[in-house]
Symmetry: C2
Subunit: 374 residues, 2 copies
C-alpha cells in the first residue's frame, strides 16, 4: 500500500511548536482521536499521518510534508479532499501548498479528459493562445445573447462562454438559451469555416449540473463551464467523466475565493486552482488575471499556470485561462507571461473597444498574431 | 417582484472608496459588465444591485446593504450563492455578514425539514440539550464500530454520529458499517427503552450522497451527517428534501474552514454556519466549540447559535451543535452559554474519561441533569 503526501505551510513560534502542529495535523486529518488511546498498533503506525519532513522557511514559518495511507481516503474524491484539509481547514495558520498522489489515486481520479492537446484538436488552434469572450450582461433574453454569440464567432474568437451568472433565469431560460446560442455559433462556423466552441454554464443544483451538461451536448455545445465551488468539486469529475457528455470542462472560480484569500490559511494558488482543479477534471481553469479588478499577483498567476502544467504522473495538463482586466493594450505582456498554452478571456474590454464586436475580435486576433511574430 | 438583500462588511480608506467598492459589488455580482455599456434601462435599474445603505462602522470599516432582484438568482440555490458572493469572494476586504430573503425564496429554499421540535420529537428529549458522541477512530472495522455504538447507546447518549472521516474505506465499507451500527443502536434502544439516533456520514461523490442517505434510511439510521463543503451545499438540500430519506440532516464543517478563517473576507460565522447552512436544510449545524483545539471565539460561537435561531421568516430553527474541546468539566459553562436548544458533541473527552464508555455516558448525563437543576 502506498502513501500520498501533502505539503503544508505552518505558522508557529519555533520548530518545537511547528512539530507539535504538524503532529496535530497527522491526527486531526485521520483518526481525530487521542493518540495514546488508539486501540491498535496498525492504526497508530499506518493510519495516522506521518511527518516526512519539517523545515524552517523563515522565522515563524515552516514547511511540513505529511504522508497519509491511501486507504484513509479510499476511492471517494470527497474523502480525499477531507484527508487533505477537512478539519484542519478550520485552523488558522495552516495552508495546503502542494500534494502528490499514489498510482491508485492517479488511476481513480483521472483528471482532464481532453487536456491541452484535446482542446487544441477541438478548436483547431495551434501555436498560439486561445481567445475567449463571454455572453453578457445578465438580463438579456436568449435572442440577444445568441446574437452576441454569432457576432463573436464571426470575428474568429475561439471560445465563447456563458457569463457565469447565466443560470436558468426567466429572462433567458437554460434550455432555450443553450439551444439558440449553440445554433448561432454553428451558423457562424459554417460561414467562417472555423471551429469556435460555445461553452454554456451548466452550474446547477445537486444532480442537475450533469443533466444540464447532457442537454448542452445534445444541443451542440462545444464544452461546458462549471463553478465547482458552487456545485461541489466532485461535480466537475462527474461531468468530465460522463460518456454522454464527452465535452471539455472549464472550471469557473465563482464562490471559490475564500480558499485562497488568506495568505496563511486555505490553499496556495498552485495547489487549489492548479493541482486540485486539474485533478477534479478541469481541462481549463479560469482565474482572475493579474492587473485587473481582482487582486491576484503575477506570482500567484504564474503559480496557477505551473499547477496546470506540472508533472502529476499520468494526468493531462490543463489550460490556464486568466480573465478579468485583459484589454487591447496588455495582450503582449500576457503572451510573454503565460506562453502559448493558455486561454485569454476578454469580456468587458472587447465590448468597450468597439461597438462592432465582430470587428473587435478581428482586431484582437491581429494583435495576437503580431505579438507572436514579434 | 421583490428584492433580497445582503449585508457586506467592507474595508476601504474612506466613505468614497467604500461607496465605489459597494457599487463594484452591485455590478460584479450581477451583470459583470461595464455599467455605461449596459444595453437597456431595465437591466441598469433592476438587475444591477442597489446600495440600500452604507455606514461607517469604524475608521476604514464600512457596512453596505445591497439588494438584488430575486430574478437574478431565480430558483437555483447555486445561483443564489453566486449572486450572494460568487466573484466577490475573490476580492479581499469584503465579507458577507448577513442576508434576508424574499417570500419566493423562502418558499423555494425551505430550510430544515425537522428543526428543533422535529429533532426533539425523534429523540424524545425535552427540556435539555442533546448529547452526541462519535464512532472512531478511523481504521476500526465494522464490528468494532458497532460495538462502540452499542455501548454509547446503552449509556443513554441521544445521538451517535459516524466520525466524519468514515466514508467507504475498505476496513469499514459504508453499507456494512451503517447496517451494523444501526442494528447495534436499535438493540440498545430496545434494552433501554430510549430513542438514541444513529447518524451515518453519507458525504460522498457527486450523486452518491443521496444514494447513501437512502441506504441509511433503509438500514434504520435516525439521521444523516453531510460535510456540505465537500459535497456542495445544495446536496444538503437535496437530501433534506428527499421523501425517500425523510431524516434529519446534520451539517459537518469539514473543508469549510476557509469560508470564515479570514476576518475581513469570506463570511461571518453568523451568516455561514447559521443562516446559510440552515437555508441549505441543516437541522443541526456542527461547528468547533470555543476553548477547544480550534480557534472559534465565544463571540463567534454565540453568533452561530444566533444564526441557527434568528427569525428567517417561515424557516425552522436549526440546533447549534458545538463540538471539539467539550469535557466533563466545562459542561456547566456550555449549558449556560448555549441554553437548552443545542446539541453537545463529546468525542475524545468521553473516551478519555473512562474506558467504560457506557459508564462515561451515564456520568455525563448525570452531570448535565445537575447543571440543569442548579
Amino acid at each position: 500500500m502506498e502513501r500520498f503526501s501533502v505539503t503544508y505551510a505552518l505558522l508557529a513560534d519555533d520548530l518545537n511548536e511547528a512539530r507539535r502542529k504538524a503532529f496535530d495535523i497527522c491526527v486531526e486529518q485521520t483518526v481525530e482521536f487521542p493518540y495514546d488511546l488508539i486501540p491498535n498498533a496498525y492504526i497508530q503506525t499506518e493510519i495516522v499521518g506521518h511527518i516526512e519532513s519539517l523545515d524552517t522557511l523563515a522565522p515563524g514559518r515552516f514547511r511540513a510534508v505529511i504522508s497519509y495511507h491511501e486507504d484513509t481516503a479510499g476511492t471517494d474524491f470527497t474523502q480525499f479532499l477531507n484527508v487533505l484539509f477537512g478539519n484542519t481547514s478550520i485552523k488558522p495558520g495552516v495552508r495546503v501548498d502542494a500534494f502528490t498522489l499514489t498510482p491508485m489515486q492517479l488511476a481513480t481520479f483521472t483528471g482532464p479528459r481532453f487536456g491541452v492537446a484535446g482542446l487544441r484538436a477541438r478548436t483547431g488552434v495551434v501555436g498560439r493562445p486561445l481567445l475567449c469572450s463571454a455572453l453578457k450582461p445578465l438580463g438579456l433574453d436568449c435572442h440577444a445573447l445568441a446574437d452576441i454569440a454569432y457576432r463573436f464567432a464571426l470575428g474568429g474568437i475561439d471560445v465563447i462562454k456563458d457569463d457565469h451568472g447565466l443560470a436558468n433565469q426567466r429572462y433567458a431560460p437554460f434550455e432555450e438559451r443553450v439551444a439558440r446560442c449553440a445554433e448561432a455559433v454553428q451558423r457562424a462556423n459554417a460561414e467562417t469555416g472555423g471551429n469556435c466552441l460555445y461553452l454554456p454554464n451548466v452550474t446547477a443544483d445537486d444532480g442537475y449540473t450533469l443533466t444540464r451538461a447532457r442537454f448542452a451536448q445534445q444541443a451542440g455545445a462545444g464544452a461546458v463551464i462549471i463553478s465547482g465551488a458552487l456545485t461541489g468539486f466532485d461535480t466537475l469529475r462527474a461531468v468530465a467523466g460522463d460518456d454522454q457528455v464527452n465535452l471539455p470542462v472549464f472550471m469557473h472560480p465563482a464562490f471559490s475565493g475564500s480558499f485562497t484569500v488568506a495568505p496563511d490559511a486555505g490553499f496556495s494558488h498552485f495547489a487549489f486552482y492548479g493541482q486540485l482543479m486539474r485533478l477534479a477534471g478541469a481541462d481549463a481553469v479560469i482565474f482572475p488575471n493579474y492587473g485587473g479588478r481582482f487582486s491576484f499577483s503575477r506570482e500567484e498567476c504564474a503559480a496557477i499556470a505551473q499547477g496546470c502544467r506540472c508533472n502529476m504522473g499520468s494526468l493531462r495538463s490543463a489550460l490556464p485561462a486568466p480573465g478579468g482586466g485583459m484589454n487591447f493594450e496588455n495582450i503582449g505582456d500576457m503572451v510573454a507571461f503565460y506562453g502559448s498554452d493558455a486561454i485569454f478571456l476578454i469580456g468587458g474590454g472587447l465590448f468597450r473597444h468597439n461597438p462592432d464586436i465582430t470587428e473587435g475580435v478581428r482586431t484582437l486576433r491581429r494583435l495576437l498574431e503580431q505579438c507572436l511574430e514579434a
